[in-house]
Structure formats: C-alpha cells, structure tokens
C-alpha cells in the first residue's frame, strides 16, 4: 500500500470552539490508484487531501506513506517530501501572477537545485505535454481558466511525482473545459501510472475515478443514494485501468 491511514484526526481550535475536521479516518490507498474524495462543503475533503499531501500533520492517528509516518516528520522533512513525492493542482490554479507559464512550471524545480538550463528544458517539456508550448511566455492573466489549469498540471507533473493531488481541479471551469482537464488528468494518469487523488463535489468527475470515498463531517461514510435518472450509471465506478507493464 502507498498510503495507510489509521485513526487519523485533525482538530482545530477557533477561540473556545473545537472543530474536528477529520474524526478518525481509516483508509488505504494503493499505488497507481485513481481515487476520488467526495463530500459536501465542510466535510473535511480538503483537509484529508492536505494530510495526504503532507501540507499538514494529523492531530492524532498515523498516516503512513511509503512506510514513513508523516505525523512524526518535522517541517524540513515534510518540505522534502512535498518537493519529491507530490504534485498539487488547486481549484484556483494558484499560479504566481508575475511569472510566465514557463516560469511557473519552473518554480516546482527550484527546490531541486538543478541548473537553469535543465530547469528550463524540463519545464518546456512539461508544458508541451499539456499542449501549451505556444503559451509559455504568457503570464496567468493572459491565459484562460483552462490554460491556467493546464499550466498548474504541468507544474504538478514536471517532477514526475509519485502522487498527484488535485483539489477541485475543475471547480472554476466551465463544463467543456472541465471535460478537457479531467480528460488530460486521466490520460496522464494512464500514461504514467502515478497515483491520482482528486477532491471533487462533481459526481461526473468522481465517476471517472477507479474508486470513490465519501466524507461526512470528517468521517468516511457510504456514498448517498442518488435517485436522479441516470444517477446509478454515473455513480458506478469507472473500470480499473490496465496495469502498466
């Protein structure tokens, strides 16, 4: 197993109030899996994703990634993990507004201390991989939403991480662009065999995953029954991808 979560909780204190964003999560994620995390707003999806991406530590429980308990790692080790193992795609793209598309992709390689030429070469390749080579010198404000998300995907993939974590990657996109982006993510997942974990409230997007989990108030629950016409077909998990040789 790539991930093994056991009794993971995350507690926040807001003044006198204590909020359990995650309340005892037990979860295993296999290497190469396409997992969708669903749930309503405030259910803890993003918090779980941040735990899986070592952006935060659990308040209690164990979160083992490749045999290492993330809960016990220091900030330096977490940064090291983030720079080598994970690629992030955010709902708001989170591109640096003053840097070009190429430079935004390069920011992912800065922690690797590679030479400037190597950094530029790899970033150019990553942009070409998402069909944005011709937009490399444009800053985010000159790109459409879909193009910006492609840049973010290129940035997430340039280091060839083991895990791609996408938090509502299509949340700010129109339907057609959503389809393009999810299609791109799925295609890249199939080609590269990386583990893809997507947080989404979009049932159609979740339907593309090989497995779905549902969060309610910080706990894993069975997915709700959806009696809308065609809902059953949409809720059915996508077929398992063929294993890479």
């Amino acid at each position: 197993m790539l991930y093994d979560l056991s009794g993971v909780t995350k507690r926040y204190t807001q003044g006198r109030k204590t909020v359990d964003a995650l309340a005892g999560i037990d979860l295993q994620i296999a290497d190469g899996e396409f997992l969708a995390i669903q749930g309503s707003t405030g259910s803890g999806k993003t918090t779980l994703l941040q735990m899986l991406g070592a952006l935060d530590r659990p308040s209690s429980g164990s979160l083992v990634y490749e045999g290492r308990d993330v809960a016990k790692l220091g900030e330096g080790d977490l940064a090291e993990l983030r720079s080598h193992s994970y690629g992030f795609v955010f709902q708001s793209f989170n591109l640096i507004p003053t840097l070009t598309a190429q430079e935004n992709v390069e920011t992912a390689l800065v922690p690797w201390h590679v030479s400037g030429d190597e950094r530029r070469r790899r970033a150019a390749e990553a942009l070409a991989g998402v069909n944005l080579a011709d937009r490399a010198r444009h800053i985010p404000s000159e790109l459409s939403g879909g193009e910006q998300q492609r840049v973010a995907i290129a940035r997430a993939l340039v280091r060839e991480p083991k895990v791609i974590l996408a938090d509502e990657p299509t949340g700010n996109l129109d339907e057609r662009t959503r389809d393009d982006i999810i299609g791109l993510l799925e295609e890249l997942w199939r080609e590269r065999g990386q583990t893809l974990i997507v947080v989404t409230h979009d049932t159609w997007v979740a339907g593309r995953a090989s497995r779905r989990i549902w969060l309610v108030a910080g706990k894993l629950e069975a997915p709700p029954v959806d009696d809308r016409p065609g809902a059953e077909a949409a809720a059915a998990p996508a077929p398992e991808p063929a294993l890479q040789a």
Binding site: R82, S83, P111, G116
Partner: protein, 481 residues
C-alpha cells in the same frame, strides 16, 4: 529564478515599492543633510579655532598680569623744560601685549619634557607704538615729566593744558617666533605667498615677515625695510593668515623681539602639541601643576568660549538636528517594515503554494529579503541624492556665521586725552571671526546613507520574511484572496 522573481514582483507592486523606497529616502536624506550640516559647522569651528589658535596646537600657556604690577608705559609727553613747551615730539616704544605677564623661556623646555608633550614652542607678542604730537603749553609751575599716555605719574597733579595739539598714535603688532619650529605657534596656519619664510639661520637676523593685509595697507613689499624700535628689518616674505585670526602685523625672530623689548629670555605665550588627542587633558593638568599661576587653555576650552551665531548653529546641529534625523530614520524604518509585512500578508496564498511545491522557509524568507534589499538600495540612492540637494541648499542659503571670543580692553578712570587711541593701539578688542557655513558631503557619508537604507530594507525584509516563514501551507492555502 531568484532575481527574475524579485524584478517581476517589484514591477507588479511598483507603487508600493516606490513608496517604501521614498520613505527610506526621506529618512536617509535628513540624516545626510543634518550630518553634512553638522560637519560644516565643525569645519567652521575648526577654521575659527585654527585662526585663533594656529594649526597643530593643542594647548596654549600664558600668564595674566596682576593688577597694579609693572609701571605704566611712559612716553614722556610732557615737555622736559619750558623751552620745549609747544614743540613737536615723536616717541617710539615696544611693549609686551597688555594683560599678559612674561614667562621665562626656560619654561618652554620644562613643558617640552613633560609626559605626553610632543613639542612646545614659545613666542613673544609685542606692540610697537609711535606717538607724535606737540608738547603741551606750560601754565604756571606745573610739574613736568613722567606723564604717561594711560595714567598720570604717581603723586603728580594732572595739569590741565590750556592748548594741546592732538596726539597721533599709530602702532603695529609684532610677534617674536621660534624660527627653528614654525609648525607650532602663530605662523603655523599661515602661508608665505611671496618671498620666503624664516629659516633656522635667521635666529638673530633682522628679518621680518609681514602679513598681506599690513603690507597692502602700508605699501610694503619683499625687500623693503621696516624700522622696528629704531632698528631696520628687511622684509623677506609676505604671509597670509586665515581671516579673523589673531595675527600680528609683523613677525620677527624671537631672540630679536626679546632684545628689542628688553625681555631677554622671556616669552608671553607657549604653544604645546600633545602626542595624542587622548593625552591633552593629562598634559593640561601637568602644566597646571608645573605652572600654577599660568592660564592653560586647550582647543576645547577655546571652543567652549566661542559665542555668536556659529555657536548657535553648533547647538542646533547637536541637539535638534541630531534627534530630528534619528526620529525621521526610525519613522522611515517603521513605515518600510509595515509596508513589507502588509505586502507579505497579501501574498499568503502565493507563499503557501510555494511551500506546497517544496520551497523551504528560508528560501521564501530569502525572496522577501531580496525584494526589501532592492527597495532599500533604491531608497538609499534616492536618499543620497535628496541629501546632497538638501546640503547644497543649506550651503546656498546659509548666512555667514560669526564666532566671537575675548573681551574689550577697559580704560582706567581719569585717563588723559589720547589714552583711548593708545588703548586701542595696545589691543584687547574682542575677536570676531566670520565664516561661511558649507555642508560638505563626503563619500563616507554617502556610503553611510546607503548603508542605513539597506539596513532599513533588511529590517523590513526580515520582519516580512519571518512572517512568511511562519505560514503553514495548509493555512495559507485555506485563505481566500
């Protein structure tokens, strides 16, 4: 990536960056202008002190004459006998400067041997007075003879002359100097512009240096002869001294001055140079112990006595100016820090994303510091330019400043006619020096200004960077823009 990011970020928020730089620039400019002004005041004070004191002199030693001691200078203005009544007369006398008692020249050697003294040299300040007029007309059996210009002979009853032609008094001042060491003493701040200065071989020669002003006034040139005490002295050089300096009109070798004024082996002023600035106070104490009756004055003592607009300017620079500059600098640092922290707060999501990409805190702090250093550097350059402009303005608009020290000679009661002119001839007027204030900017000052601005930038960047480093990626990404 580092410099590209800095450049792009500063370009994006160029207004805020410019505001931060300008804030630092104003603070720095004030420091530059005030420091330049204070430097100009110090230069003016040094100029005043050098003109009063001479270059290289740390301490002067003199002795004030006791009241009632020494007879008054007698010019014999009463007719010796009745046959001379109403006849014309001329008199010449060389006297030591009033108010000063002479010291044995051996004291110079004594002081030279004290701990902390590098070198000592003595001089003799004299006045040559020429009196001409007509003897008073005698009336009745008045006693004759012995009347002095300044007070009647002891015991004599002043005779009211029925008619007295005006007495003309002219004088010039003379300094007898140690020709073997001109680096110390009254000629140390002078520059021989025509002819030559004294040489060691001139110790007993009848040679003189004359100041440029006196030479011009009396149409004297190198090679001319000037009678001093009835003795012909050849003018070998014309010397220019700083304006307002306590200069004499003529300078002759000390030995000749002693002989002409019947002050063999005497001096009335000793100049001392200490071997270091730190030993001046100790040397002063030693001299006071050696010569308890002497007046021992350091350059600092002299500076403390200076009054006038220069003294006021000095106080202004030291008090108001200094604190104003410090306050402005603190305010500039505070503004820069606040603006930087505010900018970091607006980039929380950006920094959170970079942390999510694996950027370490110190890399992000370095980025913020880099932006602040560039802003600080810009502020420093602008501040120096503004400071130079401010200093130039001070130089252009500043009025001439005056430094006054010393006091007027007072005439004793019952002085006879002509005594006023005599008193003026004998000297003792208050010394006022006029200097023009400049506010000089040196390379050191410019570098200091840039350094201050950089410090402000680093302070602001450090604060902002610390703020950025404390961000937790999860919290940062949770924030809405």
């Amino acid at each position: 990536m580092f410099f590209t990011y800095i450049y792009r970020e500063l370009r994006r928020r160029h207004r805020q960056a410019l505001l931060t730089a300008l804030g630092l620039a104003v603070g720095v400019a004030l420091v530059v202008a005030v420091t330049a002004y204070a430097g100009g005041v110090r230069d003016a004070q040094d100029e005043v002190l050098q003109s009063l004191y001479g270059v290289g002199t740390d301490i002067t030693v003199s002795q004030t004459a006791k009241q009632g001691e020494g007879g008054p200078q007698s010019f014999g203005m009463q007719p010796p006998d009745a046959s001379q009544s109403g006849k014309k007369f001329t008199r010449d006398a060389i006297t030591a400067s009033p108010g000063q008692e002479s010291l044995a020249a051996t004291r110079v050697e004594t002081i030279s041997g004290l701990d902390g003294v590098a070198v000592a040299s003595g001089s003799l300040s004299l006045s040559s007075i020429h009196v001409e007029g007509s003897f008073a007309e005698m009336s009745g059996g008045g006693s004759a003879g012995g009347g002095s210009a300044t007070q009647p002979a002891a015991g004599a009853t002043p005779q009211a002359a029925a008619s007295q032609a005006p007495i003309k008094v002219s004088s010039f001042s003379i300094s007898g100097v140690d020709v073997t060491d001109l680096e110390l003493g009254p000629l140390s701040s002078g520059e021989v512009t025509t002819g030559r200065s004294f040489a060691s071989a001139d110790t007993n020669a009848n040679v003189a240096l004359v100041t440029k002003a006196y030479a011009k006034q009396n149409s004297l040139a190198v090679g001319d002869v000037k009678k001093i005490g009835g003795v012909k002295f050849e003018i070998v050089g014309i010397v220019t001294l700083p304006s307002g300096s306590t200069s004499s009109d003529l300078y002759i070798p000390l030995a000749r001055a002693q002989q002409l004024s019947d002050n063999a082996g005497k001096v009335n002023q000793i100049y001392v140079r200490a071997d270091s600035a730190q030993s001046i106070a100790a040397v002063k104490k030693e001299i006071k112990a050696t010569l308890p009756k002497a007046t021992v004055t350091t350059a600092q003592d002299l500076a403390d006595q200076v009054s006038g607009s220069l003294a006021s300017a000095s106080n202004l620079a030291d008090t108001l100016g200094k604190w104003l500059a410090i306050a402005a600098l603190v305010a500039a640092f505070a503004v820069a820090s606040l603006l930087t922290v505010s900018a970091v707060s607006r980039r929380v999501r950006e920094f959170g994303t970079l942390k999510a990409l694996g950027w370490k805190s110190r890399r992000i702090v370095g980025q913020v510091l880099g932006e602040s250093v560039v802003t600080g550097l810009a502020g420093g350059v602008i501040g120096v330019a503004l400071g130079i402009a401010g200093a130039r303005l001070i130089t252009a608009l500043s009025p001439d400043l005056q430094a006054t020290m010393g006091s007027s000679a007072q005439l004793p009661a019952g002085a006879p006619p002509g005594a006023g002119a005599m008193a003026e001839a004998l000297g003792g007027a208050a010394q006022t020096v006029t200097v023009q204030l400049a506010a000089p900017i040196s390379l050191d000052l410019a570098l200091l200004a840039v350094g201050l601005a950089l410090t402000g930038g680093l302070l602001a960047g450090g604060l902002g960077g610390w703020r950025a480093s404390r961000l937790r990626p999860a919290d940062a990404l949770r924030r809405l823009d």
